[in-house]
């Protein structure tokens, strides 16, 4: 990296010229609003602005729907991220060798990422509706139909949709990670008589570590964005099992319940920030351990 | 690989391009594809079944003016529309032709007279002898001759009467000259009317048409309020426009009581539903061609929704209208025509009362650019 000391005014000016637009917008639309979130979460209403300490938080935690939403969001991330991780890693390993149609497979798995959710929502409905195709098939086989979208099953459905949507992204990351692992290392291990299982754990897995951390971070972010899919398939008030923080916040916004919304936002931000921080720390730890 | 990229670039271009073109044309296309409908919202209330119709007075009885001989008109003394008294002379004739026949007949009567006298003289001669048979024969001849003379006498008298009675054609009754179709110099023949006089004494009548349920409600003998334009001026066709304006508001409008005398099925023109109603009125100073307006107030039995009769359609299942419903979508509202079966009440020739099956806020299709079927998407005009 170029080490340029800002020794002259001219240099500072050029930094500002490059960074300026972005920084201004970033301050105006992200940092200032975030500061405002912190502020609003400690006052009663944005209009009256009376400092109420942690009252908003207390009220928030007393609200059953918030606790439910918070729990659901964490549960969703906790369940879907590992599954997505495993599925996409497995897929990447399957695709890593020489294989006919390899490129086509990759294209297909990436397609859900670009196909707008809204245009597929109808198919999900057709599948999982009470009168949907899956229940139709179950009924044909003499099994009890399940109300997929209105019971706890909806959680499973959303996990499936989430994986369908995001598997391509992680797959590409893992494929890149795998490509970075020198082939001769693996071949050397194979000659040493290491089985595929041992080869994976001793060579592939450590080699994937940096990519894995990023994949997990993006998966967590993605899991918080699954609101889109949920909203499009199940509407603004879905079953309890998939009522996430985003629903809670959207609905608070529409009810103009700003104090609830901002304190929930701040807590969500803290949780995500903490998770990201921990992951980065862990990554550095692993990297340094590998290097040292 | 490169070729694929070019193809994809084309595809993207064509996609956005065609959507642009379609956007540009979208309004045009929409106005081309959907049937256009005219709608109205029904009025709530009772249907006014009052009959308010105009007619022109006609006399109940008209006397004909019939000349007695084949003459030439020498003078026309009255004009159409003139009010005349009984005995007023209307047309005078040049009776020369009849005069001439009269003279011929008088000459022939003279001949018969002479013949009779000759027979009388011959009888006197026979009486002197006593050929009884010859006397008898002679007497019979004389009798026959007397009859011929009498006949001739009557012919003469008849012609004389024709001349004295017929030379001046007089009004047979008080009234108004309704028509007169001769002029000086015209030839007339006996028995062929040359004009008519509307008789005052018999009264006037006029015919109105009443359609639908309003017509059904009328019966013979009903009293009707009639307003008559008082202007005594002869009503001619050329004055029609002015007459319409003056209507009933003029100072010389009179109110009279009329009576329905006849009701006939099948009114004027194609409107077979309408009835011809004749109203008799009488009064002074009435003349043919005056405009009379009959007003028979009546309301429908029950209130309902009034819509135009154009909206009413029917099929095997009954009478229906197309009501326009709109579906508020994210793409704006779109309109659909839906069948609504209705129960109809009374109707006039342009309005019908809907008792059931329609809401007061519903829009009803009165006219469509294409035949509609249930559920069709339409454009409002």
């Amino acid at each position: 990296m170029l080490k340029l000391r800002p020794h002259s005014l001219r240099n500072a000016a050029s930094i500002l010229a490059f960074l300026g637009p972005s920084l201004a917008g970033f301050l105006l639309f992200y940092l200032v609003p975030f500061g405002a979130v912190v502020y609003y979460s400690f006052v009663d209403t944005p209009v009256r602005s009376r400092f109420v300490g942690f009252d908003n938080y207390r009220l928030l935690w007393e609200s059953a729907s918030f606790r439910k939403a918070f729990g659901n969001s964490l549960a969703f991330a906790g369940v879907s991220v590992p599954i997505l991780f495993a599925v996409s890693l497995a897929l990447a390993l399957l695709l890593s060798g020489a294989l006919p149609l390899r490129r086509t497979f990759r294209t297909v798995f990436l397609l859900p990422l670009v196909v707008p959710v809204a245009s597929i929502a109808l198919v999900w409905q057709a599948l999982f509706h009470w009168n949907g195709a899956i229940n139709g098939a179950l009924a044909e086989w003499g099994l009890r139909p399940t109300d997929w979208m209105n019971t706890r099953w909806s959680f499973t459905v959303m996990v499936a949709v989430y994986i369908w949507k995001n598997v391509g992204y992680n797959l590409v990351l893992f494929l890149a990670g795998l490509a970075n692992i020198p082939v001769d290392q693996r071949e050397a291990a194979a000659i040493d008589g290491a089985g595929p299982w041992r080869r994976f754990w001793s060579i592939t897995w450590p080699g994937l570590a940096p990519v894995s951390f990023f994949a997990v971070v993006m998966s967590i972010v993605g899991s918080f964005k699954v609101f889109r899919e949920t909203y499009l398939v199940a509407g603004a008030y879905p079953n309890d099992a998939i009522y996430t923080l985003q629903h809670f916040m959207n609905n608070s916004f529409q009810n103009l319940d700003y104090s609830k919304l901002t304190s929930a936002a701040l807590q969500l931000a803290i949780v995500i920030g903490a998770a990201v921080y921990l992951l980065f720390r862990a990554e550095r730890h692993v990297r340094e351990g590998a290097e040292g | 690989m490169h070729r694929r990229k070019i193809a994809l670039r084309w595809a993207i271009g064509v996609f956005f391009g065609s959507l642009l073109v379609l956007t540009f044309l979208s309004n045009t296309i929409q106005s081309l594809t959907l049937p256009k409908v005219a709608v109205e919202t029904p009025d709530t209330g009772s249907l006014d079944l009052s009959v308010d119709a105009e007619g022109y007075l006609q006399p109940a009885y008209t006397a004909q003016l019939i000349p007695l001989g084949s003459w030439t008109v020498s003078e026309v003394k009255a004009r159409k529309g003139d009010r005349v008294k009984k005995g007023d002379s209307i047309v005078t004739f040049d009776t020369t032709t009849t005069q001439r026949s009269l003279e011929d007949e008088q000459a022939r009567r003279k001949q018969e007279q002479i013949r009779l006298e000759q027979l009388q003289d011959a009888l006197k001669l026979l009486m002197r002898g006593d050929d009884q048979d010859a006397i008898e024969r002679q007497k019979r001849d004389m009798e026959s001759q007397q009859l011929s003379l009498d006949m001739e006498q009557r012919k003469v008298e008849e012609l004389e009467r024709q001349i004295s009675d017929g030379q001046v054609l007089r009004a047979p009754t008080d009234g108004v000259v309704e028509s007169l179709n001769v002029e000086a110099g015209a030839n007339v023949s006996p028995g062929q009317p040359v004009g008519t006089i509307a008789s005052d004494a018999s009264g006037y009548q006029f015919v109105i048409s009443a359609s639908g349920d309003a017509g059904d409600a009328l019966s013979i003998g009903d009293k009707v309020t009639v307003q008559v334009d008082g202007a005594d001026a002869p009503q001619t066709q050329t004055a029609a426009g002015v007459r319409g304006k003056k209507a009933l508001s003029g100072p010389d409008v009179r109110q009279l009581q009329g009576t329905i005398s006849t009701i006939e099925e099948g009114g004027d023109g194609a409107d077979s539903d309408a009835k011809r109603v004749t109203v008799d009125i009488s009064g002074t100073d009435l003349s043919p061609g005056l405009k009379a307006t009959a007003y028979i107030p009546r309301q429908s039995q029950s209130p309902g929704l009034k819509i135009s009769t154009d909206a009413l359609k029917s099929d095997d299942n009954g009478t229906y209208v197309f009501a326009v419903t709109d579906k508020e979508g994210p793409l704006g509202s779109s309109y659909f025509a839906e069948k609504a079966y209705v129960t109809t009440g009374e109707q006039t020739d342009d309005t019908v009362l809907i008792l059931n099956g329609l809401g007061p806020d519903e829009r009803v299709v009165t006219d469509a650019s294409e035949p509609l079927s249930d559920g069709d998407r339409v454009r409002l005009e």
Partner: protein
Amino acid sequence: MMAWTASLRRTGACAKLAILIALCAATLFPIALTVTNAFMSEREISHHYGALADSGDTSADKDASAMPTKHVSIRWIPERATLEAFGDVLFNHAKFLTLFWNSVKLTAPIVLGQTVVGTLAAYAFAKLAWPGRDKLFFLYLLTMLMPFQVTLVPNYLVAQKLGMLPSYGAIIWPGVFAAFGVFLMRQFTAGILDVYLEAARIDGAGHFRSFVHIVLPLVKPGMTALMLLAFTDNWNMVEQPLLFIAEPFRQPLSIYLAQIAEGDQGVAFAASVLYMTPMVLLFLYGEDQFVEGIQRSGVKG
């Protein structure tokens, strides 16, 4: 022995292929179904999907009459393939086009703006040194990871203050300055070898000249990648219009499609296909850059 291993390997490869094909089929299933059903006539669609209309929310008799009588039947092949539904969408639902352009109006400025702003800022983050640079970048990174709802209220209030609310500005401006653009472009810019810039500097080029003549040509694939990824993200936009746009006719297609799904399915499939087409075409066009963009974002820089 060798032959045995070889045949094992061959069966292994076959199994691998079979699994992949099965997974591909599963992945493609909803997309392919949407596409084929878009060619069905309205009548056929409502026949197959009519069951969706009578919602099963009558939970009381759900247990009593356990078996629903009618189900959606998934049909792949239209009885009679027709463009009727497309015609219906394009000709009869003239507003579809309005909403389509709404989507374009929202997405295009964000994509272009984000690329410009991101490329500029990325140079400052990747190739210039200044105090607090890495800390600021970490802040960028954090906001990138936050869900949209975190700054929803203040964003709304800022937009209100700046008088953008009735317009699309409230959605477009935050999108233009989204941290993702800076992040991704920094990943690409950081990959440029310093020697190039060093050489330019020795030749007397200022930052601006080296940016235009060296950085820009080298990060072109990165810009393509960013455009594609940003397009993907914003073409799918749901939350922002849902909260910021009240009038139905100013919504983008994403919201509209979620709403027509009820009842009007014949049109919905065709509209969905039209909606996904530009996205899929662009993706196929720039697939390599798209993939590279994702991979670069995962590389620790």
